[in-house]
């Protein structure tokens, strides 16, 4: 087993970076450099962890780098981190997101505070993905709200105050259910073994025996919190306005990364801890996921601005992820975990390009654009790659994950898979139509003078394009890391096996 210091570093380095950025705020531009260096270090750490990760640790259920320090006995509070194949992918995504957000969506208004909040957000998100204790997870999960709130409310567009409040209140209310659920579970575990101290350790709680009814209620409590975060239809109503009003870096963090906290939590905690509730809850959540896919696709066709467009297409994509997570099929779950990462990569690409356009034109309304292909061919080409990946063109990363989800789900829950497949067609419709409206046609007025992507902007998008292609043709190293952990989880929740 590897030392847990690596994980602690992943959490602490951005904190130090945020502090550093705050300390050098007097010199203009210095904070940005500090933040950039920090995020590069973070990326390197994430890659090191990804290379080192070994799923064959005895008695650790594919978890590596684990450690546990009890901080307060009466509170049951402990610093407990560990990493498995599922969280590994999220860790890499977290590091990637902040690096690209800093590089591609620099915001010079009050820059020290801006980068400090971004780094704090990175640290807290990292903590959520690494936490192996429910209380610790909750603390980090809840903490992510604070930087997000400030990022939206300070650097957002005109309706930022409303968006920030809506985001905070929605998520905070959702978490209320989660906290009560966690407490209930913790005490249920303690009451079974009255001699033990209160603990929220994931390992200990996953063995708690509970009646079917209890598990269903707890599952619902957990699922509400994660459905708000993901978002899953019909709890998504905060997301379009928040994505649209947030500054570009904020939109990237929210949709590429924080949404994954929802689906990750659903898989790890709701599905992982309450297997008995699954037969009861599965039809409901699969249905909501399918509705989300169709509803998101439909609204993506109608929405007037580009950021909301990505928000609704994300709702559809999160529907696919939920479908995979809830399917009970190992293949589909692997696909869902992969799609969490792929959707992150694709969304970063989308928002970066939209950010570039917004910088040039000061608008994100689709009707303001036409024929951008002419003056900005490189930008159009980059957008095309990202778009095709999102449609699920074979050979690009989106295809692999959607394909795995659909075949896996078809084996266990065929009808939902059939409905969801229409979502793939719908994605092609809304994406190509949006592309047509924005990039095709004859450019006139300010559109004709739109500058093409600068070399720096092209370089920022290179990692995205590379990931899209590499994960499209050679996803094996990634799949090899996810599969053992997913297998472990599915075997735990479906001992008989829904697998076909």
């Amino acid at each position: 087993m590897h030392s847990s210091t690596w994980l602690t570093l992943l959490i602490v380095v951005p904190l130090v970076g945020a502090l550093g950025a705050a300390l050098v705020q007097k010199t203009p531009g210095r904070a940005y450099v500090v933040a950039l260096v920090t995020s590069v270090v973070e990326m390197v750490l994430a890659i090191v962890v990804a290379v080192l990760y070994n799923h064959h640790v005895p008695h650790a259920q594919t978890f590596d780098f684990a450690t546990r320090h009890v901080l307060s006995v009466p509170f049951g509070l402990a610093y407990d981190v560990a990493l498995d194949g599922i969280s590994l992918l999220m860790v890499v995504l977290t590091a990637l997101t902040v690096l690209l957000a800093l590089l591609g969506a620099r915001d010079r208004r009050q820059e020290p505070a801006f980068v400090a909040w971004l780094l704090l957000l990175t640290s807290f998100t990292m903590g959520s993905f690494l936490a192996h204790d429910l209380l610790l997870f909750f603390i980090f999960f809840e903490l992510t709200l604070v930087p997000c709130y400030f990022l939206i409310s300070q650097w957002g567009a005109t309706q930022r105050a409303k968006a920030a409040l809506k985001f905070f209140i929605y998520t905070f209310t959702g978490s209320a259910f989660l906290l009560i659920g966690i407490l209930y579970l913790g005490f249920a575990h303690q009451h079974q073994l009255p001699t033990t101290a209160l603990t929220f350790s994931y390992g200990a709680l996953s063995g708690t025996a509970m009646a079917h009814g209890t598990q269903v209620w707890l599952f619902i409590a957990f699922a509400i919190a994660f459905a708000v975060k993901a978002p899953i239809w019909p709890l998504h109503t905060w997301s379009p306005i928040s994505y649209a009003e947030a500054p570009t870096a904020g939109s990237i963090e929210l949709s590429a990364l924080l949404a994954k906290l929802g689906s990750y939590g659903l898989l790890r905690f709701a599905v992982g801890l309450f297997p008995l509730a699954l037969p009861t809850m599965r039809p409901l959540l699969l249905t909501l996921a399918a509705i989300g896919i169709l509803y998101g696709s439909m609204l993506a066709c109608k929405t007037p601005d580009l950021k909301r467009f990505v928000a609704y297409s994300s709702l559809a994509q999160m529907g696919f992820i939920t479908l995979g997570v809830m399917s009970g099929s190992q293949i589909a779950t692997v696909g869902a975990v992969l799609l969490m990462f792929n959707h992150g990569v694709i969304t970063i690409g989308f928002f970066l390009i939209i950010g570039f356009i917004e910088q040039r034109r000061g608008s994100i309304l689709i009707k303001d654009f036409t024929g951008l292909q002419g003056p900005a061919p490189i930008l159009a080409a980059l957008f095309t790659v990202v778009m095709l990946a999102s449609i699920g063109l074979p050979g690009l990363n989106g295809f692999v994950s959607e394909y795995l989800i659909l075949i896996g789900t078809f084996a266990t829950h065929a009808w939902w898979a059939v409905v969801a497949t229409f979502g793939v067609v719908a994605a092609a419709v809304y994406l190509l139509w949006a592309y047509q409206r924005v990039f095709h046609g004859k450019a006139e007025g300010p559109n004709a003078e739109l500058a093409d992507a600068t070399p720096k902007e092209q370089w920022v998008l290179v990692p995205i394009v590379l990931l899209i292609i590499v994960l499209g043709v050679f996803p094996k190293p990634v799949l090899d890391r996810i599969t053992p952990s997913v297998q472990q989880l599915i075997e735990h929740v479906e001992p008989g096996g829904l697998n076909k």
Partner: protein, 490 residues
């Protein structure tokens, strides 16, 4: 009949004596001194008394650790870890308030030591409540606490709202006291004693066949306490009084009244009437639901920050009651944890409100806070942290306070109650955030800078430091609160 004077363990009542003594010293000094007693003398008297009381608390803690909890003066006063911790935090809040009030008095040109005399006497009442083991002594503490506060609320003679608030507080407070003492009388009738230990013993060893008197007595006591902690529907006085009182006094009220009243409430409900807990639970349930939800919802429509904080403190009172509802060791220690972490935060918050209030103590609209954090990042940032702490954001003590009371309720089988309370916290989040948003808004960037006097600044820094340090590392306070309730619950 021969009068027997009971033996007195002076160490147990030393903090109360110190506070009363200091107050008497100031009375004498102002009567005997030629001219006026300088302000700094009065302030340093309070600070010294508070510090001495905290030192005594440390000695008491050791004494309890060695010899166990004890009662004295015919079992009317109890010395246990619970009272020691609660009185220590009361003394701390009084010191913090005195420092804020010092700068306030300089600004408002308040001379004379009446303010300090009353503050000391009131605090002595609060201290007495934490140690009371007899309904009569609780009543005494309550009255000493309240009478001082009635006058303090009216202290700003230039503002009509101040006198109005005091009259309102006095009338409703008088009713509350009457209800309380009537409840005490009925309970005496039902159990044959006013001593909490005797009541508990009586109820534990007898079956009350006609419990009408007992129920009526307990219910009236509960109503009396509900008035003092401003639980809905007995909260109507609180927003007006919070708004009308001089701001440092509001801070004092919000802190020491909560500690004193909840300490006494715990002793009555848990120690004396613990066997009857199932009878009180439905009443407490309704009280908590109303208090948390109404407190949070009405705060939304306020524009005046002092009224907002009044409703926020009502919401907090609901949360603190959760620990009482649980009625377990965990619940009691959760209640203690909540009040001792809440008190310094609320004093520090009102310290900032005092500063922004400006000369005349009148700038209390949310608009006056617009752009504060842009102009003065440290002051605005401090207020943002204090508000986030009251909201219950992690990495502040406010989170663990809510966490621990909710844990005790869930442990006691009240998942639904915990959920209702927590959803009310989400409603409350709305107005804390709206205020925070005003702090960081771009408007009024040209507004005047607020001068931060050094003592007030120190109090604010101390409050913020406490909430952040123990928010990151709650272990010591959690252990302290747990330890303090071991010897206390029967």
């Amino acid at each position: 009949m021969k009068l027997v004077i009971p033996s007195i363990h002076y160490l147990a009542i030393l903090p109360v004596l110190i506070f009363f003594g200091a107050s008497l010293v100031l009375v004498l000094a102002s009567a005997l001194a030629r001219g006026k007693v300088p302000l700094w003398v009065a302030t340093s008297t309070i600070v010294t008394a508070g510090a001495a009381s905290i030192v005594v608390n440390v000695v008491q803690w050791r004494c309890v650790a060695r010899a166990g909890a004890s009662t004295t003066i015919a079992h009317a006063i109890v010395l246990d870890d619970f009272s020691v911790v609660a009185s220590g935090v009361i003394a701390l809040s009084v010191i913090m308030t005195a420092l804020v009030a010092h700068d306030w008095a300089v600004r408002e040109r308040v001379s004379g030591v009446e303010f300090h005399i009353l503050a000391l006497a009131s605090s002595a009442g609060a201290l007495l409540m934490t140690q009371a083991n007899d309904l009569i002594v609780i009543f005494l503490g309550l009255e000493i606490l309240s009478i001082g506060l009635y006058v303090l609320v009216a202290f700003d003679r230039r503002r009509a709202t101040s006198s109005e608030a005091a009259l309102k507080y006095f009338l409703l407070g008088g009713f509350a006291s009457a209800i309380f003492i009537y409840g005490a009388a009925l309970l005496y009738g039902a159990s044959g004693s006013t001593n909490l230990t005797s009541i508990s013993y009586f109820l534990g060893s007898n079956v009350v066949l006609h419990p009408g008197l007992l129920y009526a007595g307990g219910a009236l006591l509960l109503v009396g306490f509900a008035f003092k902690v401003a639980a809905v529907p007995f909260h109507l006085w609180s927003p007006d009084v919070y708004e009308g009182a001089p701001t440092p006094v509001t801070g004092l009220m919000a802190s020491i009244v909560k500690i004193g009243a909840f300490a006494a409430l715990l002793r009555v409900i848990i120690s004396a009437l613990g066997t009857q807990l199932d009878t009180w639970r439905p009443i407490l349930f309704v009280l908590i639901v109303l208090t948390t939800v109404v407190g949070a919802s009405l705060a939304l429509v306020q524009r005046n920050v002092k009224r907002m904080l009044a409703y926020s403190s009502i919401n907090h009172a609901g949360f603190i009651l959760l620990g009482v509802w649980a009625g377990t060791v965990r619940g009691s220690s959760a209640t203690l944890f909540y009040v001792i972490t809440y008190a310094p935060i609320v004093v520090a918050t009102f310290a900032i409100v005092t500063l922004i209030g400006g000369v005349g103590d009148e700038h209390h609209s949310v608009e006056h806070y617009q752009g504060l954090a842009r102009r003065q990042p440290w002051l605005g940032g401090a207020l943002a942290i204090l508000l986030l702490s009251q909201l219950g954001a992690p990495l502040t003590t406010g989170f663990y306070a809510k966490y621990t009371v909710l844990a005790s309720v869930v442990d006691g089988g009240g998942g639904a109650l915990a959920l209702i309370a927590l959803v009310s916290a989400a409603i409350a989040a709305f107005f804390y955030l709206r205020w925070t948003l005003a702090l960081y808004s771009d408007d009024r960037l040209d507004g005047a800078r607020v001068v931060v006097p050094k003592w007030t600044g120190a109090v604010i820094a101390f409050g913020v430091a406490l909430t952040v340090v123990f928010g990151i590392w709650p272990g010591p306070v959690a252990t302290l609160a747990q330890h303090a309730t071991f010897l206390f619950t029967p």
